[in-house]
Each structure stands twice: as structure tokens, then as C-alpha cells.
């Protein structure tokens, strides 16, 4: 298995800069998710590691060795893509055997059979081995493509949005399966996605990529609760974190131009709290609060109207309207509210995250 490092990697395509000064460290046996929007540079990063692209600057290391001069084949990585690219006229077994039967270095038959059977068992596709791949469902096809990667016992698995083409239910199921598989194999996984739920639920570590730069790397817990800036705060979490402009006045959060006030206790205590003197009275700030930390209460300080109700069965996500601004609040399913009903809300002051208005950077991260 393998430890992967990218050091100061930049990549340009003509005038277009895809990656800028990228530092990445993926530990051996880690499930690392690269999260970003379309065009953020996720796939380029993956292709650089696979050896399908060369960096314009910087170095790629696999297990401490600079692999600049290694071709894709020598790097011994397996690539799983959104498109399954299976051989349609072959059976599942033949598809799985294929990577093990190159003309040179062909494995002994018994070894091939053993590897294919084991991969099929792991992915629960044993009953499909004799079926042609064009007779499979999307989920089954994606399992076979993963199987074709597994049989080779590569040093690294690189996965480029492998679940994106599947429907919601199947995606949900395969998420757990993939995580399970990675743990069973103890393999290094680099998984690329634009779906923050996939990133949160599967990653040991998540790297958030924006316009070719890594904005933040951390555990899902860190990324969610201590986002480095307003970009990460609004990208991760569904619904995203509420961000409200305002400033601190005499220990209270005063929103402007929204014109309401909420108590402030020094902000989120986790992750070491605020640095001393970081938040001065009067500084232009953005207050960040997750929807689950906004609650309705009859005596609460701020009045709002219910603009929309999103019903998830287990809970409801309310859109509250204060002036022109919209705020999200997650409330228990039993909360009975109607659209346009006036309600009062407050927040959990211990969970408030402060961002600098100008730079968007979380004050806990600012030096």
C-alpha cells in the first residue's frame, strides 16, 4: 500500500491554471476525499497521481519516491471512473480476469481464479459472474468496475465520482459498501466528488478544493464544525451554515443591515475557542450558525416569518425570513408550522462561528 504526497504542485493548461501550489498528504491506508465543485481541479489532481498528466511545477511522491519519470503503468494505481467502461460482450468473470491476463507477466490460472473469486465475494457479485455485463444494473456495473480494480491489488485506488451516475438509494447503499471495502482491504483511497454528503460520510480526511487551491484539509468533524472560511462553511452541510453580516457590540451580536440582536458568549468553545483579542468590538464580521443550532421558542429574541418548510419526515428544515434575509432552522418533525406564520427564534451562542467580513476567514484560523 502507499503513502502519497504532492508538494507545491501547479498545473496549467495553456492560459488556464488548474492547480496552484497544491500540498497534499495522504497517509497509507487512508480514505481521503477531495471535495470541490466542477472545475475546482479535482480530476486533474487525480490524473497527476495516476501519471496521466505531468505537473507544470512541483513533485508527486509515492512512498517517498519522486515518481516524475514513472509512467502510469509503473505507478500501479487503479482508476475507477463514473463511466463503467466494461467490455460489454464479456461476462463479469472475463471482465474481472482481464487485468490479470496481460501477454507479459500473466498470472498462473489458479491465482487468477482465486483473486477473481475473492473480489466477487467482497463485492457480493458472485451470482453475477457468468452474466454478460450489458445485462447488469448500474449499481452492479459499478461493483464490477471496482472489482476489476481490486483484483490487481494496486498500491492506490483513485476514484473519480464513481457514484454520481447512480440513483439516490443506490448511492446511499454503495457509500457504506465502499467505506467497508476500503477498511477490509486496508488500502489507500483517493476519492473525488462534488457531493459533500459523500465526502463527509466516507472520508477519514477531506480536502476542500476551490479554484485549484486546497482551502482546508481535515476530518469531516473539523471541516463541518470549524470551517476555515465562509466558502467551506457554505459548501459543506445540507442545508449550509447560515451566514449573517454584523458586528459585536458590548458582548452582543448585532446584525446589520438586518437589525436584530442575539446574545453572544465568545463563540464556539470547541477547537480552542477564539484567540485572545481576535474579535474586537465594532469589527465587520460574518456570524455563522448551523441550522440545527437555530431554534424556535415563544420567548426568543428575534421575530421571523416561515417562508418555506422542507419536510424530511424525521425533521423539518424551515426557511425563516427576517427582513429580506433567509435563515435555515432544523426543527423536530412534530413542530407544527404554516407558511407565513410568525415565529420567534434564537441560536445556541456556544455554536456561533465568527468570520472576518473582508477576508471571509474564520477568526479561529486567522493568525
Amino acid at each position: 500500500m502507499a503513502h502519497i504526497q504532492l508538494k507545491k504542485v501547479s498545473k496549467t493548461f495553456g492560459n488556464h491554471t488548474a492547480l496552484i501550489d497544491l500540498d497534499l498528504d495522504i497517509a497509507d491506508g487512508e480514505f481521503f476525499v477531495l471535495l470541490g465543485e466542477t472545475g475546482a481541479g479535482k480530476t486533474t489532481t487525480l490524473r497527476l497521481i495516476a501519471g496521466l498528466e505531468k505537473p507544470s511545477e512541483g513533485q508527486v511522491f509515492i512512498d517517498g519516491v519522486d515518481v516524475a519519470n514513472w509512467g502510469a503503468a509503473e505507478r500501479d494505481v487503479a482508476l475507477v471512473l463514473q463511466q463503467y467502461s466494461l467490455y460489454p460482450r464479456y461476462t463479469v468473470r472475463e471482465n474481472l480476469e482481464f487485468p490479470l491476463k496481460p501477454k507479459i507477466r500473466r498470472l498462473p490460472d489458479a491465482e487468477i481464479k482465486d483473486r477473481v473469486d475473492r473480489a466477487a465475494r467482497t463485492l457480493r457479485i458472485e451470482h453475477l459472474l457468468d452474466r454478460k455485463t450489458d445485462k447488469l444494473s448500474g449499481g452492479e456495473m459499478q461493483r464490477v468496475s471496482i472489482g476489476r480494480a481490486i483484483v490487481r491489488k494496486p498500491r492506490v485506488f483513485l476514484m473519480d465520482e464513481p457514484l454520481s451516475a447512480l440513483d439516490a438509494k443506490l448511492r446511499e447503499a454503495l457509500r457504506t459498501e465502499l467505506k467497508n471495502l476500503q477498511m477490509q482491504l486496508g488500502a489507500t483511497f483517493l476519492f473525488v466528488t462534488h457531493d459533500q454528503i459523500e465526502a463527509m460520510s466516507m472520508g477519514d480526511k477531506v480536502g476542500v478544493l476551490n479554484h485549484g487551491r486546497i482551502v482546508q484539509t481535515g476530518t469531516p468533524h473539523e471541516i463541518y464544525n470549524n470551517p476555515r472560511d465562509t466558502y467551506v462553511a457554505s459548501f459543506v452541510g445540507s442545508p449550509p451554515m447560515n451566514l449573517i453580516d454584523g458586528k459585536l457590540v458590548n458582548g452582543r451580536a448585532v446584525m446589520a443591515p438586518l437589525n436584530f440582536e442575539l446574545p453572544f458568549s465568545g463563540g464556539a468553545k470547541a477547537f480552542g475557542g477564539l484567540k485572545a483579542g481576535a474579535a474586537t468590538d465594532g469589527r465587520a464580521l460574518v456570524f455563522g450558525i448551523r441550522p440545527e443550532d437555530v431554534y424556535l421558542e415563544s420567548g426568543a429574541p428575534v421575530e421571523a416569518r416561515v417562508h418555506d418548510v422542507e419536510n424530511h419526515g424525521v425533521e423539518k428544515i424551515l426557511t425563516l425570513r427576517v427582513g429580506d434575509a433567509m435563515l435555515r432552522a432544523t426543527v423536530p418533525a412534530r413542530t407544527d408550522v404554516a407558511i407565513e406564520q410568525p415565529v420567534r427564534f434564537a441560536w445556541n451562542p456556544d455554536k456561533v462561528v465568527l468570520f472576518d467580513k473582508g477576508s471571509g476567514v474564520n477568526l479561529r484560523h486567522a493568525s
Binding site: 439516490a168 438509494k169 446511499e172 457509500r175 457504506t176 467505506k179 467497508n180 477498511m183 454528503i197 463527509m200 460520510s201 466516507m202 469531516p220 468533524h221 463541518y224 459543506v236 452541510g237 445540507s238 448551523r290 441550522p291 440545527e292 417562508h307 418555506d308 418548510v309 422542507e310 419536510n311 424530511h312 419526515g313 424525521v314 426557511t319 432544523t330 418533525a333 407558511i339 407565513e340
Partner: protein
Amino acid sequence: MTQIELRGVQKYFGAVQVIKDLNLAINDNEFIVLLGQSGCGKTTTLRAIAGLETIDEGDILIDGKPVQHLKASDRDIAMVFQSFSLYPHMSVYENIAFPLRATRMGRGEIDSAVRDIGKILRISDLLEKKPSALSGGDMQRVAIGRALVRRPKALLMDEPIGALDAKLREEMRAEIKRLHIKQGSTTIYVTHDQIEAMSLADRIVIMHEGVLQQVGTPDEVYSHPANLFVAQFVGSPVMNIADAAVTEAPSSASVTVGGAETGFSFPRELLAKLNGHAASKLALGIRPEGIIVRHDAADGFMPVEAQIIEPLGSYDIVDLKVGSKMLRARTRSGFVSGIGERLFARVDPVQAHFFDTASGSSLGIKL
């Protein structure tokens, strides 16, 4: 005032029956959502009501009058599709006015109708633009405006926001709901998205393979699914379903899943309620939030082992191993520290469902 009723509707495409004996009564001003996977017959049903498809048997009644032999244009129903189908060479104003031009309405009257609709849909400042200059959301607003301007008896919508990106979809969904509350026209809305259905509908109609599965309010459908299909179609993560054996215990009933050594404790009245059912095989259904997990042993809780943990930000989904079966539980974020942790779990009897495995039907047991 518009009521719509379907009586014994059957529809074939060649040898394939796409609607099977459909009976449905829709009340005046009601917002009905037809929910199902692609190919379940929901769009065909909608098109049959609109008069865009003929039916092979049964009656479609609007305000008590059979209309199945009437042309679409004589049914006075408006339809909005996923593709906006605006006239590209006409301004927004002319697109909205178009359905009125063919009527005897005077110029002044048409003008005020168009401007009223423009105001309601917040597109007043776009009226002079061509559709090509509009965003996806605005185009759909215009399409809805064109449908509403002639005050049809009913508004039918076929995945109207399915082609928009996630953020815009949420916004438009809220607008459609608010518009309905304001205008109060009988609305039938087709989607495959269960959150959309749960958030918009007064009542949801769930279809599968041409057969109506359940009609009910979002709460009924979520809390009391009629069968296994509905149980697993509505709600995310999906409801846990496990083959179950119910036995008598000294002062309670015991429900065993996955061949575990001990069963989940249920009130004794479960036995009496099950007695009335001839089901040979039972399945227990329990949503992730219906499994209660604690760190230490307690009466009625059974020991389980944590497997995969999916941190989803505001909460975690934890796979619990119960015998050979995996049950997914919803816990507070960070509640379970790691894989392999020993925990204690209970199934909340109030949230439990029992299904006849053979027919898939819920036994309707409420504890």
C-alpha cells in the same frame, strides 16, 4: 372549484399495462403529488388527466363530468413541463399573453392579467426580455405564468424543477408552494424526489409499476407506510427492514432479528395484535431515528457492536451489528467514537412497523 376523480382507469402501451385500475379523488384546491420511480406510470396518469393520452378503460371526471372523450383543449387544464417550451422569438410578456390572445379577452384585460401574474411570480422587470436572456429558474417562472394566466381549472406539473440545479430547485419549490397557497388552484405535481413530495403535497400518491401503493398526507406516508415499497421509498436513509421472529417473554414480547441471541423488547400487547394476522413470515421495519442507542447497559437494551459510522454533520448514521443483520441508527454527532465500539440499543415500539413478508403489506400494528 375543481374536483378531479379517476375511476378504474386502465392504460396499455401495446401489451404493457402502465396504469392498473387507478382510483383517486382529488379535492378542490388540493396539492397532490404523484411520486414514484421512472416508469411507474405517474407521468402517464398526469397526461391522461390533461388529455394528452387516451385511456383504455375507466373514467376521468372533472367536477363530476366525464372528460375522457374531450380533447385536451376542452378540458381547461394547464400543464407545465420540465422543458420550458417557451416561444423563443416572443418576449416574456407575449409568451404569457399568448394563451389569452385566442380568447375574446380585450387588450386592457389581457394586459392587466399578464402584469398581475408577472407580479406574483416576481418577473415584472423581465416582461420585455426574450426567453434566451433568462436563467433556468426565470424561464420556469414564465412557463408557470403562461399556465396560470388563463385561470385554468387545474394546474398539472411534470417534474417542473427537475432540470434545475440543487439551490435553484429549492428556491423554486418554495415558490411553487407559496404560489399555490396564494392562488389556491387544484394542483397535480409529478416527481421522483421524495423530499419534494413531502414538502409540497397536501397528499402524496405513491405509484409503483402502474399500481397505486398509498395515498396519504406526508406524515401518514412517512409514519404509517402501507407496504414495504412505500416504507423504503420514502425517507433517507432508508428504513431498516429485517426478517423478524416474535416470541413471548415473561412480561413482554421479544422481537429477534438476524438470528441474534436476544431480541428487542416490545410491550406484551404486540402478541395479541399479531394474533389477528395470518402472516407466515414477518419483517420488522424501523427507521434509523427509531433505534435508541446508549453507552451503558439498561433494562430493555441489548448489546450491539458499531460498524461503519457516517458523520453527516448535524447527526451520524451508525451501522449496528445485530446478529447477522446490520441496522442503521441515527445518533447525535460524535456519539459513537469508533468502529467496534460496544453499545446498547433498543427499538422504539411506537416507531416500529410490521410487514407480512409474502405480500409486503403493513400489518398496521400501532403500539
